[in-house]
Structure formats: structure tokens, C-alpha cells
């Protein structure tokens, strides 16, 4: 028997570790690998042979891992470029040295491209003793083909709760007030949209639509004039028709050619104040907290992330299984249920799943019933957390 390797990449989520726990647990139930290695800091650490042995993690440690947010194996933004052949050669040598049959890579869009690239390279070189399997995760929920991405639902549950509670805060005073909640979501508005589950959002600005400042301010004014308040949610990726982000002034670059956004909320605040629509406007930028909030895990999400890791491990018993991603499909039927299926990683990499235009109500008025039907089953249930002296216990990361 050989070994397997599991690593994480890209932005963390609240349930990304559950997939790792799933791979480890599956191998304890059916030890098709001698060792389950964890690769630290994704490809970056793998290239430096930074491995830990996860094979015999205790049930207790695995339970803690499932409720620990962020990437316990560390992450990276290192982009494996097809032209850097030396990287590929080195990875294959390291996989040889550690007798690693299968590498599971948990990540988003870029990570699925890594899986596809490693598979292509191996195929090209006739390498058949290493296989590459992708496990999706992203709070952005922007991977194609899969019904949804592990990590999204917990963030959605958190954001919907935040909208519910901050709406209560905004409304306690009688004074005029506009509140603007800014969420992540670079190209896809799934996260911003999830706040409508609170039932409290007046206006919703998504990156799927070109921002029409005049129309938007007209709507804000109507609502403020009628109710003295306005609760607005905006995605960081909101942009004008010419593609300029509302937050353009703050835009930087993350090394993958993606703009690092932030400030869409402030942009909206400033335009409302400048237009004299409200005397007060306040921004809550959810920032880092939305992708690492252990308090609001969706049990559905945790369990799906965990099972997806198990499914990946189980699929890998098939020696021809490589270059694939395990994906989620929604079953037909009265009750919500997820099925696990596989798809070639290169069919997922570098595509973006946007919120369907027909689910977006006109004039920033929120989401259609289809979106509620899609999203609500995903945020159901709460884990029975293990606490450590008053705060949710989190396992120490393996990279420490």
C-alpha cells in the first residue's frame, strides 16, 4: 500500500477542515493508504516537503478539527504555473519519495486548476503512480457544476444572522439612519444574496448587475423618506457598467491577477451622504470574520464537507481516478438531500458560477423565491460544539 496526501489552498472557510477530517476518517474505516499525510501551506509547503502525519488522529481530535475554522494545514496563494516545469518535476519527485499515490487538494477555483495541471503533467509524462483529486471549498460558492460549495452555507448562515441582528441595532433609535453591510464575493453575489434570508434587507447590490447609481440612490431615498431607515447589503465586487468597482480607489492585486477589493460599503455610504439622502450612514465591513466564524457553522455544511472528504477518499480506491473533483448534486424529492458525484477538475477550474439573473429581483429589491428555496436547506442545523472555557474549542493548527 502507498500513502495519500491532503492539503488546503486558497481562502479559508469555516468548514474546510471537515473535508480533511473526512479523508482521515475514511482511511481509518477503510485503510487503503498506510499514511494520510497533511501537506502544510498547500503547494508551497508540499514543494518544501512540509508534511505531518494525520493517519491516527483520535476521534476527539477529528471532532475538534470539524469545528475549527480556517485551514488547519495552512494555505497558500502560490500559483502553480504550467510553464514552471521545475515545480511539477519537484512535486512528482516528492510524491515518489513519500510513496504518495493520491493527493487530495481542498480549494476553490485556482486549486482545481492546480489539480487539472498536475493531472495534465502526469498524463503527458506517462506518470501513473500519482493521482490528483480536488475537493471544492469556497465561501464564494462560485464553482460551476457542483450545486454548491462546502463553506458557503456556514458563511451564508452567519451573514443572514448578522443582517438579522444588526438590523435590530440600526432600528433601536428613532433617528434617520442608513446601514450598509459589506460582504465578500468578488465576482459572484451568493454571499451578499444570502443576507436576504434575514428578511430584513431593503436593498441588495450584487456583482452580477451593473451598478446604476441614479436608480440606486432613488431607491434609497424612497425607502428613507418612507421609513427613516434603509438597510443595504453590498458585495465587495459591485461595479459600474464599465467594470469599475465601487471600491476602485482601494483596489490592489493579490498576485493571481485578482483585484483585492474592499470599500464598496464606504463608496455607497459616501454617495448617500453626498446626495443628502440621509444625515447618518454607517458601514459594517464583515471582512475576515465572515470566512472564519466558528460560531455559525451550518451543520448541513459541516456534514457535507466531511462526507465530501470521505467520498473523495472512497473514490480514490479506483486506481484510474485522477484529475477529478468531487461535487455535490441536490437529490429530487420532498426533503433536501445531497448526492456526491465526480467531474473533471478542468471543467471547473477558471469558470465562475454567478447568481442566476432570473433569481435577482429588479431595482435592488433582493432575491426571488428560487433563491430562498436554494439556500435555506443549506443553512439548517447547528453542531453540538465542544467549548473550551467559554469559547468554542479550536484545534491548534498543524503548521505551528
Amino acid at each position: 500500500m502507498g500513502n495519500c496526501l491532503v492539503a488546503q489552498s486558497g481562502g479559508p472557510t469555516s468548514v474546510i477542515n471537515a473535508t480533511v477530517a473526512g479523508v482521515v476518517t475514511a482511511n481509518q474505516l477503510n485503510p487503503i493508504y498506510d499514511h494520510v499525510y497533511g501537506g502544510l501551506h498547500g503547494i508551497e509547503g508540499i514543494l518544501q516537503e512540509q508534511f505531518v502525519d494525520l493517519t491516527n488522529m483520535s476521534t476527539r481530535a477529528l471532532e475538534l478539527l470539524k469545528q475549527t475554522c480556517s485551514s488547519a494545514l495552512g494555505s497558500c496563494r502560490y500559483k502553480l504555473k504550467r510553464e514552471n516545469v521545475a515545480d511539477f518535476e519537484k512535486i512528482m519527485q516528492i510524491l515518489d519519495a513519500y510513496d504518495i499515490d493520491t493527493m487530495f487538494y481542498v480549494g476553490g477555483n485556482d486549486s482545481m486548476d492546480t489539480v487539472a495541471a498536475l493531472n495534465e503533467y502526469a498524463k503527458e509524462k506517462g506518470i501513473t503512480n500519482h493521482r490528483f483529486i480536488g475537493c471544492p471549498k469556497t465561501i464564494d460558492n462560485d464553482l460551476v457544476i457542483t450545486d454548491h460549495c462546502p463553506g458557503f452555507a456556514s458563511c451564508a448562515k452567519f451573514l443572514a444572522t448578522v443582517a438579522k441582528t444588526t438590523w435590530l441595532d440600526v432600528n433601536v433609535y428613532t433617528r434617520q439612519e442608513v446601514f450598509i453591510l459589506e460582504t465578500m464575493g468578488r465576482d459572484a453575489g451568493w454571499l451578499a444574496a444570502s443576507t436576504v434570508l434575514s428578511g430584513r434587507v431593503d436593498l441588495l447590490v450584487l456583482p452580477e448587475e451593473d451598478f446604476d447609481k441614479e436608480l440606486f440612490l432613488k431607491k434609497v431615498k424612497e425607502i428613507v423618506d418612507a421609513t427613516n431607515k434603509c438597510y443595504i447589503v453590498v458585495s465587495e465586487g459591485a461595479h459600474y457598467a464599465d467594470g469599475t468597482y465601487l471600491a476602485a480607489a482601494d483596489a490592489k492585486n493579490d498576485g493571481f491577477g485578482h483585484a483585492v477589493l474592499g470599500g464598496a460599503g464606504n463608496a455607497i455610504k459616501n454617495m448617500i451622504l453626498e446626495a443628502g439622502i440621509s444625515a447618518r450612514a454607517k458601514v459594517q465591513d464583515m471582512s475576515t470574520l465572515q470566512r472564519c466564524n466558528s460560531n455559525s457553522q451550518s451543520k448541513t455544511d459541516v456534514e457535507e464537507s466531511f462526507r465530501l472528504g470521505m467520498s473523495a477518499h472512497m473514490h480514490s480506491a479506483d486506481k484510474s481516478f485522477t484529475g477529478q473533483m468531487v461535487a455535490l448534486r441536490r437529490s429530487e424529492g420532498e426533503f433536501y438531500n445531497a448526492e456526491y458525484f465526480t467531474v473533471a477538475a478542468d471543467k471547473v477550474a477558471n469558470f465562475v458560477k454567478h447568481v442566476p439573473a432570473e433569481w435577482i429581483l429588479p431595482e435592488y429589491e433582493g432575491m426571488s423565491q428560487e433563491f430562498y428555496d436554494y439556500c435555506l436547506p443549506l443553512i439548517q442545523g447547528e453542531p453540538d460544539y465542544i467549548y473550551d472555557n467559554g469559547t468554542i474549542a479550536q484545534i491548534d493548527p498543524f503548521y505551528l
Copy 2:
């Protein structure tokens, strides 16, 4: 029998409604008042006779009220000034008209001043048929005499959890990175200090100490040079020796003569970047969310807030009981326990309880064991929340 009135004022907390639930519950158990009225939007709404009847709230509704954050009766920033005699006359007339024996006012410093002022006015005018009782609440924990304030512990529990999880997020990448968490706490550093319960804070900047930029940056540099990371927590009220807030550029006024702060985190970020200590620095401003987060209620806090409301009601059976605040004392003994006692509201109003200097470690290195011993018992326990389709159920505010 007459009636009683309960109202809320000042900034909301996550457990301020539990005190209202306590008053209502106590009156159901021992109906010394015919009606328990809720006054909407504090003094502001009372002056406009905006009352709701809470007397017969169901057990289910009271349970929901206890887990609903922010002020369900609404709040106000209206300052009852002693020179505005007309306000006092009008309040007494309204209390007469509604046959209100006792007014319970749930709030912080300014609210205790309102209780004291109403009591003084009544005494001066020989009014004996209306009594005024204060119930403390404030996330800032800055009221004197009481061991701690309902609302603080839930916010502390939330912030400690946030420090725990965002620390994990900051550390997933190998890159150099400074993270700055900004908390509320205008004059007192209790909230910022509570983040040390995470065990992850490198440097802590409190308003109790004059900020020494040179020393602080030296410390940041040492930590970044040694670990490539630095996790910093700063209170919004952090200031230089001359009293200038770090966030001075953003300072405005809230109408009570308090500066509206914000931006201490950004001030620190900018000084770190300008000094060239780290290439990356990120700020998470907790803003509104920290005072209205239902996800992280401390069960200890909820129950104390509830019992404090009950205690206030029970004390009010004594017809001479007025101008008082119900406070919390920590019992002697092996296990944490809170006792309820009373103190004249004017002994509390307009004083500020700072974090004791001897609990603050030198050079921004955090808090002494005394602080952990003080704070840890307060954040223990989690309520069994009632959920509504995936998010924590919140009762609709009474002012809607």
C-alpha cells in the same frame, strides 16, 4: 395596585432584553403591578406616551426575548437635562395618567443619571407616588460599584472567540502579516482586554494607558521579526498622552459631548506600514456587530441580566425604594456566584470604572492573571437557542 414601566436606553447589548424579561416574569410570579408597560425608545418615547403592554407575555415570547439582542423596546440618546423642568413635569404627569408606581430604566451611565435626576426632582417636589429604579447594562463594563455589567460578558465571549478564529485566519499563509482587531470601549478597555482570553493576542492597546508610539512600534517590529506575524487588539478609545485619540481624524460628537470614535485600527495600520515594519497589515473593525451578536451570548450573562430584572422588580415591593440601581457582587467561595444588591443611582452615574492599572501588563503585553480570574467565569455557558429556519430566532421589536 398601580402599574410599572420598563424602558431601555443607550447602546444596545446582546442581553439587555433579558432584564426586561426578568421584570415581566417577576410580575407574573408575584403580580404587584396590574400592568407592566414597556416604554418605547426610552425617555424619548415615554415623553410621547409610547407604551406597550408586556404584562401577559407568554413563556415562549419571554424565552425569545431573552435571546434577542439589541433593545426590543427601542432606545434613545435623549439626555434628560435637569434645567429642562418641563420634561420632568411632563414625565410625572404621564406617570400619573398611567398610574405608574415604578419606572425601571435599563441602561448605562447616562441612564443612571436619568434615574438619579428623576428621583431628585420627585424628592424636591414631594412626589412620593412614582419611584425610579436603574438596571445596569453596558458592553463597556464601565459602571462603578457593580462587579460587572450585564452585556459585557456576552460581548467579551464574542470578541475572545473572534480573536481565536481570526488569529487562525491570519496565520494560514506564510507571508508576513499584521492583523489589527479594533473593539469598542470609549474610556475603558474591558472589551479590548477580553480578547486575551483567546490566548492569541500579541499586543493589546487600552485607553487606560497613554499610547507610546515609539515603544509600540518597537514591540511590533520585534514580534514581526521573530514570527513574521503580529496579532494586535486596540480599543477605539486608545489615545496619546495629550489625550488625542489615535482615531482623532474621524472624531465627531454624539450629542452627549462624547466623541464618536472609530479608526484606531486604521491609525495603527498606517503607522506600521509607514514605519516599514510589515508589508501587509489588515484591520478588522468589529463595529456594530459586537454589541448585537446573538450567536455568542454567555449563558451566565443572560441569566444574570434576567435575574437582575427580577431582583429590581422584587425590590420595588418596598414603597420607599427609589433612586437606586440594582448591582452585582461576586460571592466569596470556591465557585463563581453573583449576588444582587442595591446602590444609589447617583453614586454610579457619571463615573467610569477603568481596567485596574495593576492588571495591565507593561509594554502592551496583555493582562495579568487577575483579569483572567475576573473575566473567565462571566463568559461561561451557552443558551439553548431557539432557531428559526437556520438562524437564531429574534422576537420582533415592540416599537415596530
